[in-house]
Amino acid sequence: MCLAIPAQVVELLPDGMATVSAGGITRSVSVALVDDVALGDYVLLHVGYALHKISAEEAEATLKMMAEAGLIEEELGAGQ
Protein backbone atom coordinates (compact mmCIF):
# COMPACT_ATOMS: atom_id res chain seq x y z
CA MET A 1 0.00 0.00 0.00
CA CYS A 2 2.97 2.13 -0.54
CA LEU A 3 3.03 3.94 -3.84
CA ALA A 4 4.89 7.12 -2.94
CA ILE A 5 6.60 9.54 -5.26
CA PRO A 6 9.12 12.35 -4.99
CA ALA A 7 7.59 15.78 -5.55
CA GLN A 8 8.91 19.29 -5.18
CA VAL A 9 7.22 21.90 -3.01
CA VAL A 10 6.41 24.84 -5.28
CA GLU A 11 4.05 26.79 -3.02
CA LEU A 12 3.30 26.80 0.68
CA LEU A 13 -0.39 27.10 1.51
CA PRO A 14 -2.25 27.76 4.79
CA ASP A 15 -3.38 24.94 7.11
CA GLY A 16 -0.37 22.73 6.56
CA MET A 17 -1.03 22.40 2.86
CA ALA A 18 1.35 22.94 -0.05
CA THR A 19 1.34 22.73 -3.82
CA VAL A 20 3.82 20.17 -5.08
CA SER A 21 5.00 19.39 -8.57
CA ALA A 22 5.94 15.99 -9.97
CA GLY A 23 7.18 15.92 -13.52
CA GLY A 24 5.34 19.17 -14.18
CA ILE A 25 2.00 18.11 -12.77
CA THR A 26 0.84 19.89 -9.65
CA ARG A 27 -1.45 19.03 -6.79
CA SER A 28 -2.26 20.43 -3.42
CA VAL A 29 -1.20 18.09 -0.63
CA SER A 30 -0.80 18.09 3.13
CA VAL A 31 2.68 18.67 4.54
CA ALA A 32 1.45 18.59 8.12
CA LEU A 33 3.32 15.37 8.88
CA VAL A 34 6.73 16.81 7.98
CA ASP A 35 8.55 19.49 9.97
CA ASP A 36 10.12 22.57 8.44
CA VAL A 37 9.08 22.10 4.85
CA ALA A 38 10.51 24.86 2.68
CA LEU A 39 9.92 26.00 -0.86
CA GLY A 40 12.01 23.92 -3.25
CA ASP A 41 12.22 20.91 -0.93
CA TYR A 42 11.60 17.49 -2.38
CA VAL A 43 9.24 15.35 -0.35
CA LEU A 44 7.98 11.80 -0.62
CA LEU A 45 4.25 11.96 -1.34
CA HIS A 46 1.76 9.24 -0.39
CA VAL A 47 -2.06 9.43 -0.62
CA GLY A 48 -2.01 13.20 -0.53
CA TYR A 49 0.39 13.53 2.40
CA ALA A 50 4.10 14.30 2.39
CA LEU A 51 5.73 11.52 4.42
CA HIS A 52 9.34 12.60 4.53
CA LYS A 53 11.79 15.03 3.02
CA ILE A 54 14.19 13.60 0.47
CA SER A 55 17.85 14.07 1.27
CA ALA A 56 19.73 15.31 -1.79
CA GLU A 57 23.09 14.32 -0.25
CA GLU A 58 22.00 10.76 0.51
CA ALA A 59 20.55 10.39 -2.98
CA GLU A 60 23.79 11.63 -4.48
CA ALA A 61 25.82 9.25 -2.37
CA THR A 62 23.59 6.31 -3.29
CA LEU A 63 23.92 7.02 -7.02
CA LYS A 64 27.66 7.34 -6.63
CA MET A 65 27.87 3.95 -4.97
CA MET A 66 25.79 2.45 -7.75
CA ALA A 67 28.13 3.87 -10.39
CA GLU A 68 31.15 2.57 -8.57
CA ALA A 69 29.76 -0.87 -7.90
CA GLY A 70 30.50 -2.19 -11.37
CA LEU A 71 34.04 -0.90 -11.51
CA ILE A 72 36.83 -3.25 -10.51
CA GLU A 73 39.21 -2.16 -7.75
CA GLU A 74 41.78 -0.75 -10.20
CA GLU A 75 39.23 1.33 -12.08
CA LEU A 76 37.99 2.63 -8.80
CA GLY A 77 41.46 3.61 -7.80
CA ALA A 78 42.06 5.22 -11.21
CA GLY A 79 38.84 7.13 -11.01
CA GLN A 80 39.68 8.72 -7.66
Binding site: A22, G23, G24, R27
Partner: protein, 345 residues
Protein backbone atom coordinates in the same frame (compact mmCIF):
# COMPACT_ATOMS: atom_id res chain seq x y z
CA UNK B 1 -35.90 35.97 -35.63
CA UNK B 2 -36.10 34.40 -32.24
CA UNK B 3 -33.45 31.84 -31.51
CA UNK B 4 -33.51 28.91 -29.15
CA UNK B 5 -30.14 30.06 -27.84
CA UNK B 6 -31.52 32.31 -25.11
CA UNK B 7 -29.20 32.95 -22.17
CA UNK B 8 -29.60 30.20 -19.62
CA UNK B 9 -31.62 28.02 -21.97
CA UNK B 10 -31.14 24.29 -21.51
CA UNK B 11 -32.13 21.11 -23.26
CA UNK B 12 -35.66 20.01 -22.45
CA UNK B 13 -37.36 16.74 -23.25
CA UNK B 14 -39.28 18.59 -25.95
CA UNK B 15 -36.09 19.01 -27.94
CA UNK B 16 -36.13 15.28 -28.49
CA UNK B 17 -39.86 14.90 -29.04
CA UNK B 18 -39.74 15.02 -32.81
CA UNK B 19 -41.92 18.11 -33.06
CA UNK B 20 -41.14 21.74 -33.72
CA UNK B 21 -38.62 22.02 -30.87
CA UNK B 22 -36.56 19.17 -32.32
CA UNK B 23 -36.63 20.72 -35.75
CA UNK B 24 -35.51 24.07 -34.39
CA UNK B 25 -32.72 22.49 -32.37
CA UNK B 26 -31.46 20.70 -35.46
CA UNK B 27 -31.76 23.77 -37.66
CA UNK B 28 -30.35 26.32 -35.30
CA UNK B 29 -27.51 24.29 -33.87
CA UNK B 30 -26.55 21.25 -35.87
CA UNK B 31 -27.46 22.31 -39.41
CA UNK B 32 -25.92 25.71 -38.81
CA UNK B 33 -22.58 24.38 -37.62
CA UNK B 34 -22.32 21.36 -39.87
CA UNK B 35 -23.55 23.02 -43.09
CA UNK B 36 -22.53 21.15 -46.25
CA UNK B 37 -24.33 20.39 -49.51
CA UNK B 38 -25.36 16.86 -48.60
CA UNK B 39 -26.61 17.61 -45.10
CA UNK B 40 -28.32 20.75 -46.38
CA UNK B 41 -30.66 18.61 -48.47
CA UNK B 42 -32.39 18.14 -45.15
CA UNK B 43 -33.49 14.55 -45.54
CA UNK B 44 -33.53 12.08 -42.68
CA UNK B 45 -31.01 10.05 -44.67
CA UNK B 46 -28.09 11.43 -46.64
CA UNK B 47 -27.65 10.78 -50.33
CA UNK B 48 -24.19 10.72 -51.82
CA UNK B 49 -22.56 9.31 -54.92
CA UNK B 50 -19.47 7.19 -54.44
CA UNK B 51 -17.01 5.73 -56.89
CA UNK B 52 -17.19 2.00 -57.27
CA UNK B 53 -14.85 0.25 -54.99
CA UNK B 54 -13.80 -1.12 -51.67
CA UNK B 55 -15.35 0.77 -48.85
CA UNK B 56 -14.68 1.06 -45.15
CA UNK B 57 -17.35 1.70 -42.53
CA UNK B 58 -16.60 2.36 -38.87
CA UNK B 59 -18.54 3.58 -35.87
CA UNK B 60 -17.72 4.81 -32.38
CA UNK B 61 -19.80 5.96 -29.46
CA UNK B 62 -18.17 8.81 -27.55
CA UNK B 63 -18.97 9.06 -23.85
CA UNK B 64 -16.28 11.25 -22.40
CA UNK B 65 -16.48 13.21 -19.16
CA UNK B 66 -15.90 16.11 -18.92
CA UNK B 67 -17.45 17.09 -22.24
CA UNK B 68 -14.89 19.82 -22.71
CA UNK B 69 -11.30 19.20 -21.74
CA UNK B 70 -7.86 20.65 -22.34
CA UNK B 71 -7.18 20.26 -26.05
CA UNK B 72 -10.65 19.37 -27.25
CA UNK B 73 -14.19 18.37 -26.55
CA UNK B 74 -16.49 15.46 -27.22
CA UNK B 75 -17.51 16.99 -30.56
CA UNK B 76 -14.09 17.31 -32.16
CA UNK B 77 -13.12 14.00 -30.57
CA UNK B 78 -16.08 12.24 -32.19
CA UNK B 79 -15.06 13.62 -35.58
CA UNK B 80 -11.38 12.76 -35.18
CA UNK B 81 -12.01 9.33 -33.71
CA UNK B 82 -14.12 8.06 -36.54
CA UNK B 83 -12.05 9.70 -39.26
CA UNK B 84 -9.06 7.94 -37.74
CA UNK B 85 -10.77 4.57 -37.63
CA UNK B 86 -11.67 4.88 -41.31
CA UNK B 87 -8.14 6.01 -42.12
CA UNK B 88 -6.68 3.07 -40.14
CA UNK B 89 -8.59 0.86 -42.56
CA UNK B 90 -6.48 2.38 -45.31
CA UNK B 91 -9.41 4.38 -46.66
CA UNK B 92 -9.90 8.02 -47.55
CA UNK B 93 -12.79 9.17 -45.32
CA UNK B 94 -15.62 10.70 -47.35
CA UNK B 95 -18.57 11.17 -45.00
CA UNK B 96 -19.64 11.05 -41.37
CA UNK B 97 -22.94 10.62 -39.61
CA UNK B 98 -23.50 11.89 -36.08
CA UNK B 99 -26.10 10.76 -33.54
CA UNK B 100 -26.58 12.78 -30.35
CA UNK B 101 -27.98 11.54 -27.06
CA UNK B 102 -28.50 14.57 -24.87
CA UNK B 103 -29.39 14.73 -21.18
CA UNK B 104 -32.21 17.04 -20.25
CA UNK B 105 -30.74 20.15 -18.65
CA UNK B 106 -27.60 20.38 -20.78
CA UNK B 107 -27.05 24.10 -21.37
CA UNK B 108 -27.80 24.93 -25.00
CA UNK B 109 -24.67 27.07 -25.00
CA UNK B 110 -22.59 24.01 -24.24
CA UNK B 111 -24.27 22.05 -27.00
CA UNK B 112 -23.78 24.94 -29.38
CA UNK B 113 -20.11 25.23 -28.52
CA UNK B 114 -19.58 21.50 -29.00
CA UNK B 115 -21.50 21.44 -32.28
CA UNK B 116 -19.44 24.39 -33.50
CA UNK B 117 -16.24 22.60 -32.57
CA UNK B 118 -17.48 19.48 -34.30
CA UNK B 119 -18.38 21.38 -37.45
CA UNK B 120 -14.98 23.08 -37.42
CA UNK B 121 -13.21 19.74 -36.98
CA UNK B 122 -15.15 18.23 -39.88
CA UNK B 123 -14.42 21.20 -42.14
CA UNK B 124 -10.77 21.23 -41.20
CA UNK B 125 -10.58 17.53 -41.97
CA UNK B 126 -12.55 17.96 -45.19
CA UNK B 127 -14.97 15.21 -44.21
CA UNK B 128 -18.60 16.40 -44.08
CA UNK B 129 -21.20 15.30 -41.53
CA UNK B 130 -23.91 14.25 -43.96
CA UNK B 131 -26.68 13.01 -41.68
CA UNK B 132 -27.55 12.91 -38.03
CA UNK B 133 -30.00 12.19 -35.27
CA UNK B 134 -30.91 13.78 -31.95
CA UNK B 135 -32.42 12.17 -28.90
CA UNK B 136 -33.07 13.71 -25.51
CA UNK B 137 -33.28 11.60 -22.35
CA UNK B 138 -34.49 12.59 -18.90
CA UNK B 139 -32.15 14.09 -16.40
CA UNK B 140 -30.12 11.31 -14.83
CA UNK B 141 -30.52 9.00 -17.82
CA UNK B 142 -27.33 10.14 -19.56
CA UNK B 143 -24.18 12.00 -18.63
CA UNK B 144 -24.65 15.30 -20.44
CA UNK B 145 -24.01 14.29 -24.01
CA UNK B 146 -23.03 11.19 -25.95
CA UNK B 147 -22.11 11.38 -29.62
CA UNK B 148 -21.92 8.39 -31.93
CA UNK B 149 -20.19 9.02 -35.23
CA UNK B 150 -20.05 6.62 -38.13
CA UNK B 151 -17.71 7.12 -41.04
CA UNK B 152 -17.36 5.71 -44.50
CA UNK B 153 -14.36 5.90 -46.78
CA UNK B 154 -12.95 4.55 -50.00
CA UNK B 155 -9.81 2.40 -50.15
CA UNK B 156 -7.47 3.51 -52.96
CA UNK B 157 -6.33 0.94 -55.50
CA UNK B 158 -3.36 -1.11 -54.38
CA UNK B 159 -3.74 -0.48 -50.66
CA UNK B 160 -4.30 -3.43 -48.37
CA UNK B 161 -4.17 -2.70 -44.66
CA UNK B 162 -4.74 -5.74 -42.47
CA UNK B 163 -3.26 -7.37 -39.38
CA UNK B 164 -2.75 -10.56 -41.41
CA UNK B 165 -0.13 -8.76 -43.47
CA UNK B 166 2.07 -8.19 -40.42
CA UNK B 167 5.17 -10.33 -40.87
CA UNK B 168 8.29 -11.17 -38.84
CA UNK B 169 10.97 -8.48 -38.64
CA UNK B 170 8.68 -5.63 -39.60
CA UNK B 171 9.18 -2.34 -37.78
CA UNK B 172 6.67 -1.02 -35.24
CA UNK B 173 6.31 2.76 -35.42
CA UNK B 174 4.41 5.13 -33.15
CA UNK B 175 3.45 8.60 -34.38
CA UNK B 176 4.14 10.47 -31.12
CA UNK B 177 3.95 10.65 -27.33
CA UNK B 178 1.75 8.23 -25.38
CA UNK B 179 -0.98 9.06 -22.91
CA UNK B 180 -1.60 12.75 -23.53
CA UNK B 181 -5.34 12.35 -24.03
CA UNK B 182 -5.93 10.05 -21.08
CA UNK B 183 -3.91 12.20 -18.70
CA UNK B 184 -5.61 15.42 -19.86
CA UNK B 185 -8.95 13.78 -19.04
CA UNK B 186 -7.76 12.35 -15.72
CA UNK B 187 -6.52 15.78 -14.66
CA UNK B 188 -10.14 16.99 -14.77
CA UNK B 189 -11.67 14.10 -12.91
CA UNK B 190 -13.36 14.77 -9.62
CA UNK B 191 -11.31 13.47 -6.72
CA UNK B 192 -8.17 13.15 -8.81
CA UNK B 193 -7.95 16.66 -10.21
CA UNK B 194 -4.39 17.83 -10.59
CA UNK B 195 -2.81 20.71 -12.40
CA UNK B 196 -1.15 20.13 -15.73
CA UNK B 197 -0.52 21.85 -19.03
CA UNK B 198 -1.06 18.58 -20.88
CA UNK B 199 -3.65 18.74 -23.63
CA UNK B 200 -5.44 15.91 -25.35
CA UNK B 201 -3.75 14.87 -28.57
CA UNK B 202 -7.14 14.56 -30.31
CA UNK B 203 -6.49 15.06 -34.03
CA UNK B 204 -7.48 13.72 -37.43
CA UNK B 205 -4.72 11.59 -38.89
CA UNK B 206 -6.12 10.80 -42.35
CA UNK B 207 -3.97 13.30 -44.24
CA UNK B 208 -0.80 11.93 -42.67
CA UNK B 209 -2.02 8.42 -43.41
CA UNK B 210 -2.76 9.43 -47.00
CA UNK B 211 0.81 10.63 -47.45
CA UNK B 212 2.22 7.53 -45.76
CA UNK B 213 0.26 5.16 -47.97
CA UNK B 214 0.98 7.12 -51.12
CA UNK B 215 4.71 6.92 -50.47
CA UNK B 216 4.84 3.43 -48.94
CA UNK B 217 1.93 1.27 -50.16
CA UNK B 218 3.57 -1.73 -48.56
CA UNK B 219 2.56 -0.59 -45.09
CA UNK B 220 1.02 -3.69 -43.53
CA UNK B 221 -1.12 -2.33 -40.75
CA UNK B 222 -2.29 0.87 -39.12
CA UNK B 223 -4.15 1.25 -35.86
CA UNK B 224 -4.89 4.08 -33.45
CA UNK B 225 -4.12 3.16 -29.85
CA UNK B 226 -7.25 4.62 -28.25
CA UNK B 227 -9.08 2.86 -25.42
CA UNK B 228 -6.78 0.35 -23.76
CA UNK B 229 -3.77 2.21 -25.13
CA UNK B 230 -0.70 0.83 -26.84
CA UNK B 231 -0.80 -2.45 -24.94
CA UNK B 232 -4.34 -3.41 -25.91
CA UNK B 233 -3.83 -2.36 -29.52
CA UNK B 234 -0.57 -4.23 -30.05
CA UNK B 235 -1.78 -7.31 -28.19
CA UNK B 236 -4.81 -7.39 -30.46
CA UNK B 237 -2.65 -7.03 -33.55
CA UNK B 238 -0.10 -9.60 -32.40
CA UNK B 239 -2.87 -12.07 -31.75
CA UNK B 240 -4.65 -11.36 -35.04
CA UNK B 241 -1.38 -11.63 -36.98
CA UNK B 242 -0.06 -14.62 -35.04
CA UNK B 243 3.30 -13.04 -34.31
CA UNK B 244 5.30 -11.97 -31.29
CA UNK B 245 6.45 -8.39 -30.88
CA UNK B 246 9.19 -6.76 -28.86
CA UNK B 247 9.07 -3.13 -27.77
CA UNK B 248 11.88 -1.02 -26.40
CA UNK B 249 10.66 0.96 -23.39
CA UNK B 250 13.39 3.56 -23.76
CA UNK B 251 12.23 4.31 -27.32
CA UNK B 252 8.61 5.07 -26.43
CA UNK B 253 8.02 8.82 -26.32
CA UNK B 254 6.20 10.00 -23.18
CA UNK B 255 5.90 13.61 -22.03
CA UNK B 256 7.33 14.33 -18.55
CA UNK B 257 3.91 15.50 -17.29
CA UNK B 258 2.34 12.26 -18.44
CA UNK B 259 5.10 10.32 -16.71
CA UNK B 260 4.49 12.39 -13.57
CA UNK B 261 0.76 11.77 -13.55
CA UNK B 262 1.37 8.05 -14.06
CA UNK B 263 3.78 7.92 -11.12
CA UNK B 264 1.30 9.79 -8.95
CA UNK B 265 -1.62 7.51 -9.71
CA UNK B 266 0.22 4.26 -10.26
CA UNK B 267 -0.69 4.03 -13.93
CA UNK B 268 1.31 2.90 -16.92
CA UNK B 269 1.32 5.10 -20.06
CA UNK B 270 1.15 2.05 -22.30
CA UNK B 271 -2.39 1.39 -21.07
CA UNK B 272 -3.59 4.97 -21.42
CA UNK B 273 -5.86 6.19 -24.23
CA UNK B 274 -4.61 8.35 -27.08
CA UNK B 275 -6.78 10.15 -29.60
CA UNK B 276 -4.31 11.48 -32.13
CA UNK B 277 -1.70 8.77 -32.42
CA UNK B 278 -1.25 5.82 -34.69
CA UNK B 279 0.76 2.67 -34.78
CA UNK B 280 2.18 1.74 -38.15
CA UNK B 281 3.69 -1.64 -38.92
CA UNK B 282 5.74 -1.74 -42.09
CA UNK B 283 8.65 -3.59 -43.68
CA UNK B 284 11.86 -2.88 -41.80
CA UNK B 285 13.49 -1.28 -44.85
CA UNK B 286 10.69 1.27 -45.21
CA UNK B 287 10.70 2.31 -41.57
CA UNK B 288 12.87 5.39 -41.96
CA UNK B 289 10.93 6.58 -45.01
CA UNK B 290 7.63 6.28 -43.14
CA UNK B 291 9.06 8.01 -40.06
CA UNK B 292 10.22 10.90 -42.22
CA UNK B 293 6.75 11.35 -43.69
CA UNK B 294 5.14 11.20 -40.27
CA UNK B 295 7.57 13.72 -38.84
CA UNK B 296 6.74 16.14 -41.65
CA UNK B 297 3.19 16.35 -40.29
CA UNK B 298 2.45 18.24 -37.07
CA UNK B 299 0.62 15.15 -35.76
CA UNK B 300 3.70 13.00 -36.30
CA UNK B 301 6.50 15.31 -35.24
CA UNK B 302 7.59 13.02 -32.42
CA UNK B 303 7.18 9.77 -34.35
CA UNK B 304 9.54 7.00 -33.29
CA UNK B 305 10.30 3.42 -33.96
CA UNK B 306 9.33 1.61 -30.79
CA UNK B 307 9.80 -2.03 -31.61
CA UNK B 308 10.04 -4.93 -33.99
CA UNK B 309 7.81 -7.83 -34.99
CA UNK B 310 9.23 -11.16 -33.83
CA UNK B 311 8.56 -14.67 -35.07
CA UNK B 312 5.26 -16.22 -36.13
CA UNK B 313 3.57 -17.95 -33.23
CA UNK B 314 0.77 -20.48 -32.97
CA UNK B 315 -2.60 -19.01 -32.05
CA UNK B 316 -3.36 -18.79 -28.32
CA UNK B 317 0.29 -18.35 -27.34
CA UNK B 318 0.34 -16.14 -24.24
CA UNK B 319 2.72 -13.25 -23.85
CA UNK B 320 3.09 -12.37 -27.54
CA UNK B 321 3.98 -8.77 -26.72
CA UNK B 322 7.14 -8.17 -24.74
CA UNK B 323 9.21 -5.18 -23.87
CA UNK B 324 12.85 -4.57 -23.07
CA UNK B 325 12.60 -2.46 -19.93
CA UNK B 326 14.54 0.71 -19.15
CA UNK B 327 17.12 -1.21 -17.16
CA UNK B 328 17.54 -3.88 -19.85
CA UNK B 329 15.29 -6.60 -18.42
CA UNK B 330 12.44 -8.20 -20.31
CA UNK B 331 8.76 -8.21 -19.41
CA UNK B 332 5.53 -9.26 -20.96
CA UNK B 333 3.18 -6.41 -21.85
CA UNK B 334 -0.24 -7.77 -21.13
CA UNK B 335 -3.47 -6.06 -21.82
CA UNK B 336 -5.54 -5.18 -18.82
CA UNK B 337 -8.36 -7.30 -17.49
CA UNK B 338 -10.35 -4.18 -16.75
CA UNK B 339 -9.94 -0.45 -16.88
CA UNK B 340 -6.78 0.87 -15.31
CA UNK B 341 -7.68 2.18 -11.85
CA UNK B 342 -5.70 4.77 -9.92
CA UNK B 343 -3.96 2.96 -7.11
CA UNK B 344 -1.87 3.68 -4.06
CA UNK B 345 0.03 0.40 -3.86
Amino acid sequence: MSTILRPGAAIEMAHGGGGMATTRLIREIFARHFANPILDQGHDAARLTLPHGRMVMSTDAHVISPLEFPGGDIGSLAVHGTINDVAMGGAVPVALSAAFIIEEGLPLETLDRIAASMGAAARKAGVPIVTGDTKVVERGAADGLFITTTGIGIIPEGIEIAPERIAPDMAILLSGTLGDHGVAILSQRQGLAFGTTIESDSAALHRMVGDMLAAVPSIACLRDPTRGGLSATLNELAEAAGVSMVLKEAAIPVRPEVAGACELLGLDPIHIANEGKLICICPEEQAEAVLDIMRAHPEGREAARIGTVGASMPPGTPGLLRMETLIGGMRVVDWLAGEQLPRIC
